[in-house]
Assembly symmetry: C2
Homo-oligomer: 576 residues x 2
């Protein structure tokens, strides 16, 4: 037994409450090392009755580890447990709070791992609606110009080439005008990048957190948008830029004007006075972005100010949640307060962090519900677009990434393949539409929320900022309508096939060019085969015999020994 | 390289802020596997400059792992890093967010681990005074009867044999009367088990959180105690029993009386009505302890009530902190609120959890400062009192336990060898005073707060409750005065030798019967040798040559090749 590979801790994500009466338990071991993994458990105050025993399930494997899981239920919700591990050579180890032992000291209750009490207050439940969500990200200046009267000075004709400073007049009325399009597409969450008063086209340098930028509309128009979305079953997420303000935010302007005498001087991190936006003698977002002074979210006044903003848009305008810009550079203490305020304003509000890296310290249920899953995006690019990794490696890395979070968090990740901060997928895939389709098929058949960056669904291309922010193409003759109808199909499937939302995910035998996996929920089963190679492939898969319906063309097929999949093609097969 | 043994995560305790400008980083690897462990780091937005490089230090080892540590400082406090590992055969591995690699893909910045921003709000600082603390635990009914007028009915003569229900009339005046004793002993933190109105001698079933039990005194007397302690440099910690109340707590009485109509019915977990203290149809502490109904700390009214209690005793009476009874069965959300209220009432207040097991989920800096270190107690018993483990195993298990927490938490643990909930150490050691001395010497020369359970210092014995709660022996002829003077000596050393408080701890070559370790702080160095065997031992230790003063007898000794230590004896040697 590789003893150094064995790991468990009585903390998230290795132990956590699933619901009021159920405790999830995980353990990892060296890949292929164990034959059996059992958990012995009972009430922490019970010194009399024998332990209950669960056999733990091998749920997934990465390149180094196997991950075992089970869930426990006992009457009093106070858990004491240890593990019995058996490797493939028959060696047995017991694992408790004091480590690995060939034999356990009696009484076995001693030195057990303990989950002292499952308190309902500590259960992380994401909003139920979010799990069934399909996200559509809108960059408002570039989506649709619905009101020519509010176009900012210098607005360019729709569709001209973009630069970092160009404005195109897209606005909230434009989004309202296109709600039929969104509904027909089949998404149910609209995430808008910032819409508050700001000098730039992206509006990540906020001037006024309470005002909609007049070139986009006003608060009334925002309400109208939200109401109309809700009437169509679409939820609306706004973008909270709380790491920094704009340099024309009233408080920063006051510091510029009044220097050390400003009562707002501790709202920012000023290095010296007078404040100078050319020398940039204050902390900013990223590398000295003078227009984005970092906010001191540790300052109670700043905290109060921003939390009121968070509450205002939920209560006043009815938005369904916040996406949190650069939230990993803001303190955890702030986000804990933020969660309380937001969930008090609307217990069903969703909180999604923009964190591009490992996110464990934000994902314990006390801060965000989920995050923008950039690690998955990297894998999708590496496998489908860049051809850098095999299908097997893809599954292994995916298993590792998901092993870092609870099932609840994993069910609530925004599984993007691109955003306003990245090149478009189709550009990374050298405009190979099939690769985009394969990646999208994965998004829609995996755990977490499928996510479309506006325009990807009609085949838009573009390198990173500014070219990934081109104007949405509304001229149908210039849209890839076959791709669009493929996305519509996927959206429809995601809605009708709950197994794609709630089912277990199991890699079957992904290989160099293929992802082969199964989603199961109760008796339902969907088998997915994504052939990323250019060659036709005939697969023989164990225990996949049976009748299926191909959900992409509604044809029935029967699998006896082998399944055939064309190069750069896919099967999404539902067992019947 | 044992790849499965390599572990790092960008979360506590593997990455955390030490202060406003310093990030601590840890990594574990298989014991003895690595020759070198380097960290490459720089600003997360810096794509231009080369990485800085730190060589990580091997800090400690348990039975399976080596633990490497370093601390990083960069200007902007936004960290990006990866590791370069070299094993003893010269194999090299790079370790970043996407795992272990034989070669890194360029640019190396890609896929780095990220600590996005070191925010001051997230730094866990325990009160500075606590680190230099020496705790004395008092069980008030059994410490000293200073006021005969408030003796409860049925008070027994001091020193008679105890039962679970006997009362002896100990009180706050008694503690005040013995402050000279405590000061002479040399402790500087008095921790009192509960003193609030309650029917039992232990008072863990609270009737009124605002009233001192009249058999102990009143609020005025509590204030007098705290003031007199403070005047003598002694801090006072009270016991917060917030997991459950007493069954005669006003709210529970109301539920008994008014059943489902009681406005306090959701303050508890009632299974059916009417509430019946014989059938016990409500959730209690432990196994159906009818007098201790569990409080619903998720209920905002309960939360508000208890948090006001927490604040009251700090603001009104001036206590210096709380020890939290059964805090591991109360929700994390409650303790986060509790921390805010307590630290707002007094930023220097100390919060110590009673958690007898792995405590990681409470020790992230958002809840408690430290905990009662029962895992260390088990090790001290197993090695010194029970002879169950070797010195080497002791060091390995100690290394494992301390690897679970940040240095800040480790510096703030209550390192007890006994309490009112355990047998006394001297009973477990079969009344071998030498074993108690050795264990105490370890407490005083290790990281964290030495802790005396009243009476241990004069040689009191007793099995678990009720016998560990016997009356304090004040008759000097019945005290072990030699032991008492040994404890006085240890207390004095802990105060004069800051290296014992703040120094690094390094196991040298502990073996079957011996603990041999070094504390170092700057140029200061203390070498400790605890011989748990019955035989005289002559040790040869590498690089310990030099002149020392034996701090236990102030004699100078010179070590050339070997050091001699008698059986069941010790050396605490300061390098001069």
């Amino acid at each position: 037994m590789n003893k150094q590979a064995i790991f468990h801790i009585t903390d998230i994500p290795y132990t956590y409450a699933i619901d009021e009466n159920t405790l999830a338990v995980r353990l990892k071991a060296a890949k292929g090392d164990l034959k059996n993994c059992d958990i012995y458990y009972k009430d922490r105050y019970d010194w009399v009755n024998p332990f209950n025993i669960n056999s733990m399930d091998l749920k997934k494997s990465d390149s180094l580890f196997d991950y075992y899981e089970t869930s426990l239920q006992i009457d009093e919700n106070r858990y004491r447990y240890y593990f019995k591990l058996e490797d493939r050579e028959g060696n047995i180890c017991y694992y408790n709070e004091r480590g690995l032992h060939e034999e356990l000291i009696k009484p076995y209750e001693q030195n057990c791992f303990q989950f002292p009490y499952l308190n309902t207050a500590d259960i992380h439940k994401v909003p139920a609606w979010a799990k069934e969500g399909i996200v559509y990200q809108i960059f408002p200046d570039r989506f649709c110009n619905g009101d020519k009267n509010n176009d900012p000075e210098g607005t360019l004709p729709w569709g001209e080439e973009v630069s970092t400073t160009t404005m195109f007049g897209g606005d909230l009325q434009g989004i309202i005008d296109k709600l039929d399009y969104l509904q027909e597409l089949g998404i149910n969450i609209a995430y808008l990048t910032p819409i508050f008063l700001s000098t730039t086209n992206h509006k990540y340098n906020t001037c006024d957190y309470y005002q909609v930028d007049p070139s986009f509309g006003d608060v009334k128009k925002a309400k109208e948008l939200v109401e109309k979305c809700h009437a169509m079953g679409i939820r609306v997420i706004f973008d909270a830029v709380f790491n920094h303000s704009g340099s024309d935010f009233f408080a920063f302007k006051d510091v510029i004007e009044n220097g050390e005498k400003s009562k707002y001087k501790d709202w920012f991190f000023i290095k010296s006075y007078p404040v100078d936006t050319e020398k940039i003698n204050y902390i900013t977002f990223s590398n000295n972005v003078d227009t984005m002074p970092k906010l001191n979210t540790h300052n109670p006044e700043v905290k109060e100010y921003l939390l009121k903003v968070a509450e205002y848009w939920i209560k006043e305008v009815g938005i369904d949640g916040w996406r949190l810009d650069v939230c990993d550079e803001v303190d955890h203490a702030f986000w804990r307060e933020f969660r309380k305020v937001v969930k008090a304003a609307n217990p069903e509000a969703l909180i999604i962090g923009e964190i591009m890296h490992e996110s464990t310290s934000w994902m314990r249920g006390d801060q965000m519900d989920g995050f923008m899953n950039y690690p998955l995006r990297e894998l999708l690019l590496d496998f489908f677009a860049r051809g850098r990794i095999t299908g097997q490696k893809f599954q292994e890395e995916l298993a590792y990434v998901s092993s870092l979070y609870t099932d609840e968090v994993n069910s609530c990740l925004f599984n993007l393949i691109g955003s306003h901060d990245t090149a478009r997928f189709l550009t990374d895939s050298k405009e190979d539409i099939n690769k985009l389709k394969l990646a999208a098929a994965f998004q829609y058949t995996y755990i977490g929320l499928p996510y479309i960056y506006y325009g990807d669904e009609i085949g838009m291309v573009g390198e990173n900022d500014p070219f990934c922010r081109r104007c949405m193409i509304w001229d149908e003759s210039k849209q890839n309508v076959e791709l669009l109808s493929f996305f519509k199909k996927l959206n429809a499937l995601r809605k009708t096939e709950k197994v794609l939302v709630y089912g277990d995910y199991k890699d079957l035998s992904s290989n160099k060019n293929m992802l082969i996996y199964k989603r199961t929920l109760g008796n339902e089963e969907i088998l997915v085969i994504l052939n990323n190679g250019s060659e036709f492939s005939e697969l023989s898969l164990e225990s996949t015999e049976g009748k299926y319906v191909d959900l992409l063309n509604d044809k029935e097929i029967s699998i006896s020994n082998t399944i055939k999949v064309n190069g750069n093609d896919m099967k999404i097969l539902k067992k019947i």
